[in-house]
């Protein structure tokens, strides 16, 4: 089979890895001496055994982000090299990915799966997990999204992080993230996917905690990693179950063996449910669904491009990709599907409500991401995997744009993130305003834009699909309305109205440099046009996106899953009706937002006063964090202290030392027998003799 460029598929993850190595070397060689010299510390290595010089130590101002960094520096040459290398690596892998996808597209629909095995990674007995990549329609979409959006964000970061001290270190982590994400997306087996899965978890830990001197940042990083690890625990058990049921972990083998094993009774519905729910536990951890979503809002401590890349566009969607990839397994157990759907819907509505009252611009976007992810899981839960992936793509575009836009706002306002101290920024940041407004329209589901097509498709599928139900549709629609409301609330508070900025910040406000605005505009175009590739048949489009993903999901559906999603359309008019309702709800949301934040700006405060308990509850995120802290963390820590002090030190050591002291005191008592008086000695000798002879005579008498 003429694979041609596909043979170079392994270059896609290889380029970022190369970037990591090169930038890493630069970081260790070039950046370290520069930073140490700058902080007035002794030059690295070499001098040992020196008496510590008590020279003046510049207590490093906390790595302030945004433009307020410590004074202009003549950017050392290594920064320019890094600034070129990091985005370059991602750009190169985007180009290669694009070429591979194109050559894949050239193939007939059924043959669009290309697997490339590099070398056997772990092999023990019957278990084999190779390092191998698989490119098929699903992973090609993901690869393009990851590399595309990733490249834009890398370019954006060059500008955003220009005043940072540890410039190279940031890009090393970012490239490492790209490498891990691409491993996750392109892996041909569950175990390699798990490598990427934990790899991205590590990078999110490193990047959230980038400003490690801020206690809140390193706490958030640690929290993210540990909550992810709880998810990974479920994923791992899922992998074990998969291996011991199917005898292999690579996707092609597993999915091919489903019919055989199901007929032979090995693969029962209960087993399928167990596997899928365990995998889904992993997905909730990674994609921040209830109950493991708590880490995402705190992850905003990291630099904004990181939030854009990891906590909006790519990493958090890994869970959706995994569920979509294992769609064949999910279709086997209806109750697993309903669990996914219900949690998706619940998360969507729950986090949307929290989004309403948040004042930090990035927190609003964070909860919006959790909510949109809920939609994607809702789509997967009702069997509309293609719709889920479509929404994933469009969401990647407009959510990345929103984050980068808010980053540009924060950058301009020298670090200010609280919307109450913004307002009227429109005049200063025109490009940012226009692009963010476009994204807001998209996310609210205004017809014609990408958000509308993807979200509406999900709402329609949640209504019409055999797994779906009107209740799910209603929750989805309601959440869509709330989304529109808080997004426009954000726009009005930030860009419109009087300037609530404190004066000297206002003096410095200026439009971001081209390296930031160009990616914004590209993303804006994508947010608008991104949806056109998936216009549903009912609106006259031929939904090329769904058709593109069909081979991955239809072949699975054909494998005996009950009734494919693209079954009979009850009626086009019903679809139009529901579409109308969803647009209506969106417009209502926008109206209310306009009313509250443009006309009666005092109204929101008034409402808050009228129902303080409810407002307070929603503002504090339903105290979920505090409950977790109290119920889980405190209990575990106190329990461990008890285990250590009471059980370990007192109980076990008590026994051990007790035995030792017992032996010693016995020794002392026995020693005291030696009283020193010969009479006693003679008596003990006599007694011994009498006993001995008596015993012998007794034993010989009694046989």
């Amino acid at each position: 089979m003429v694979s041609g460029v596909l043979d170079y598929l392994w270059l896609v993850p290889a380029f970022p890895l190369l970037g990591v190595i090169l930038n890493g070397v630069l970081a260790l060689i070039a950046e370290r001496p520069f930073l140490l010299k700058e902080a007035g510390l002794p030059p690295p290595g070499g001098s040992h055994g020196h008496p510590s010089r008590g020279n003046s130590h510049a207590t490093e101002a906390p790595g302030s982000h945004g433009s307020g960094a410590s004074g202009p520096h003549s950017a050392p040459v290594y920064r320019n090299v890094v600034a070129f290398l990091a985005p370059g690596a991602v750009g190169a892998s985007f180009v290669v990915a694009l070429l591979c996808v194109l050559s894949l597209a050239a193939r007939p629909p059924e043959g669009r799966t290309f697997v490339q095995i590099l070398f056997p990674w772990i092999q023990s007995g019957s278990f084999l997990a190779p390092v191998g990549f698989q490119l098929d329609p699903l992973s090609s979409v993901m690869a393009l999204v990851v590399t595309g959006v990733g490249f834009l964000i890398h370019v954006y970061s060059v500008g955003y992080m220009s005043h940072e001290r540890a410039f190279a270190r940031y890009f090393v982590y970012l490239n490492l993230f790209m490498f891990a994400m691409l491993m996750l997306v392109l892996a041909n087996n569950y175990l390699l996917m798990f490598v990427g899965w934990e790899g991205v978890g590590l990078c999110s830990y490193l990047l959230i905690g980038y400003w490690y001197e801020k206690q809140s940042a390193s706490d958030a990083g640690k929290k993210a990693f540990i909550v992810n690890r709880i998810g990974d625990f479920g994923f791992l058990l899922g992998v074990f179950l998969i291996f011991w049921t199917f005898g292999s972990v690579s996707f092609t083998d597993v999915f091919a063996r489903i019919p055989l094993l199901r007929d032979s009774g090995v693969l029962t519905a209960g087993m399928a449910t167990a596997i899928t729910l365990l995998l889904f536990l992993g997905a909730t951890g990674k994609s921040a669904q209830i109950p493991l979503y708590v880490w995402l809002p705190d992850a905003m401590e990291g630099p904004t491009p990181v939030s854009a890349l990891i906590h909006a566009a790519t990493m958090v969607t890994a869970g959706v990709y995994m569920v979509a990839r294992s769609s064949a397994l999910f279709l086997l157990s209806p109750d697993a599907m309903s669990v996914v759907a219900v949690i998706g819907a619940a998360t969507a509505i729950f986090s949307a409500t929290i989004g309403i009252c948040q004042t930090d611009i990035k927190r609003v976007l964070a909860y919006s991401t959790v909510s949109q992810l809920g939609y994607m899981f809702l789509a997967c839960g009702v069997g509309a995997f293609a719709a889920g992936i479509f929404h994933l793509m469009t969401h990647a575009f407009f959510k990345a744009l929103l984050f980068l836009g808010s980053g540009s706002v924060i950058h301009a306002l020298s670090g200010e993130q609280d919307m109450r101290k913004m307002g009227g920024v429109r005049r200063y940041l025109p490009v940012t305003f226009v692009t963010m407004f476009a994204a807001t329209l998209a996310i609210s589901g205004i017809p014609g834009l990408s958000g509308f097509f993807s979200k509406d498709e999900i709402l329609w599928q949640s209504f019409s699909s055999p797994h779906g139900s009107p209740a799910l549709w209603f929750v989805g629609a309601l959440a869509a309305g709330i989304t529109a409301f808080y997004m426009f609330r954000l726009v009005f508070l930030t860009f419109y109205g009087g300037s609530r900025m404190d004066p000297e910040v206002e003096k410095h406000v200026h439009e971001s440099p081209w390296t930031m605005t160009v990616p914004l505009s590209i993303l804006a175009v994508l947010s608008v046009a991104g949806g056109w590739v998936g216009i549903p048949a009912s609106l006259g489009g031929d939904n090329r996106f769904e058709e593109w993903l069909a081979p991955v999901f239809r072949s699975v559906a054909a494998a005996g899953a009950h009734g494919a999603a693209t079954g009979a359309h009850p009626s086009v008019s019903l679809e139009f009706g529901l579409m109308g309702i969803s647009v209506g709800v969106a417009l209502a949301g926008i109206g209310i937002a306009y009313f509250l934040y443009r006309l009666r700006t005092s109204k929101p405060a008034e409402i808050a006063r009228r129902v303080p308990a409810l407002y307070d509850l929603v503002y504090h995120k339903y105290y979920v964090d505090e409950i977790y802290e109290w119920a889980v963390v405190r209990r575990v820590v106190d329990g461990s202290v008890w285990l250590w002090q009471m059980f370990d030190a007192l109980f076990i050591d008590g026994i051990v030392n007790g035995i030792a002291d017992g032996v010693r005191s016995a020794g002392d008592r026995v020693r005291r027998l030696q009283a020193g008086i010969v009479g006693g000695y003679a008596f003990s000798l006599l007694a011994g003799a009498v006993l001995l002879v008596g015993y012998i005579l007794y034993r010989s008498m009694v046989p």
Binding site: V663, R664, A666, G667, D668, V670, R671, L673, Q674, G676, V678, G680, Y681, A682, S684, L685, A687, G688, A689, L692, V693, Y695, I696, L697, R699, S700, M701
Partner: protein, 491 residues
Amino acid sequence: MTPIAMDTGALVRGLYCILPEMVVIGTAILVLLADLLLPEEGKKRLCHLSVAGVAAAILSALWLGPGKIEGFSGMIVHDGMGLFFTLTILAAALLTLMMATGYSEWEGTQKGEFYALILLSTSGMLFMAEGTDLMTVFLGLETLSIPIYCLVGFHRGRMRSLEGAMKYFLLGAFSSGFFLYGIALMYAAAGTTRIPVIASMMRDARLYGNPVFLAGIGLLLVGFAFKVSLVPFHMWTPDAYEGAPTLVTAFMGAAVKAAAFAALLRVVLLTFPAILPAMSGVLWVLAALTMTVGNFSALLQNNMKRMLAYSSIAHAGYILVGLTAGGVAGGQAVLFYVLVYAFMNLGAFGVIMLVAQREDDGYDIDNFAGIGFRYPVLGGLLSLFLVSLAGIPPTAGFVGKFYLFGAAVRSGYVGLAVLGVLNSAVSVYYYLRPVVSMYMAPAPEGIPVPRPPRSAFSFALCASAAAVLLLGVMPASALEFAERSVLSLLM
């Protein structure tokens, strides 16, 4: 009255058989005579003379070879086992006398009588080891004990020495009373005092069922138990060992124990198989008691001599485990362990003699603080001996214990073996306490300078250390020699 026919052949063969003893006694007499002639500073040469004498005795014993030589119509026999114990006892005596070159000078025991007493006591031990008649054994026992009483009390100036000697004497005499009474009862029941004859008569029930005989054997065992310091007959040991001059303590621990076990082994191996159920119970209890009491009382000792005294009681217990197991394996294990114990014991005492400045409170454990690093050789040697006494590989102590407990397991006394190994574990604690003070405790500045050892003294120490290591790493030949000796006894 027909004149007694002088069977010169038998007489010569008899003398031939006790050649090593004759050499030792001859040396003793020579030393006494030389003592008269030599001026005060010449006394050193007396020690060299006795060392030469014992060396000659060893050569004569080797010259006799392992063949079985009957002497004095069966009163004494020079068989394989006899040779083994003779060599062990003479080796112990040799090492002691070599150490005496240094010790006598420091502690004022540079007198002819001192060496003569040691030599005479050695000859008593040889008789006891090779006696096949209860009379010879008794004579050997007394010839051995009486010089030792004097040696223990040699430091006339020191009250502890005299007290130790008096206690040892009184109880010694008391126990030899029991011993004799045992012989009398056995003689009354069996009509003979010849051990092999008694052994052959053991088959018929009339004898081994006879209560008088059994009482006799019991009392005999009491006598031996006292000499070997088995609990509850051990009370004298700590006081006598602590009171006696350290050199004598070393000699007593090593050689006296060897001689007593030799005779006990001969009696047990030959006569006990017939009356095993009764005897094995007794031996089992004695072994268990001795090990446990010995180890436990040594735990908190701060005086090194007294600690090593209790440890020698414990080791008597370990050896008794081999005796309880009986059979060729048991006997072989006992022989091997007695030999190894002699070297370990002499070596350990040798080192502490050097370190302690003066007799009584010189042996307190705190005096050993910090010498580990200041005098690495001394520290190393003492650690080696203590590690071997604790039975930790790769030393001979471990191999000895391996075979002792192996014999016990083989004859089914797994419980005793477990008790034995647990006791060794307990013993590790007090054997390592001196090591702790030598190496790990904070060393005071003014560490007492140990006594400058004479060349012979250091040779003796190195010889015992080499023996402990060699028997630990390559015990094969010694084990085979021991086994051949036991087989020759049972044949």
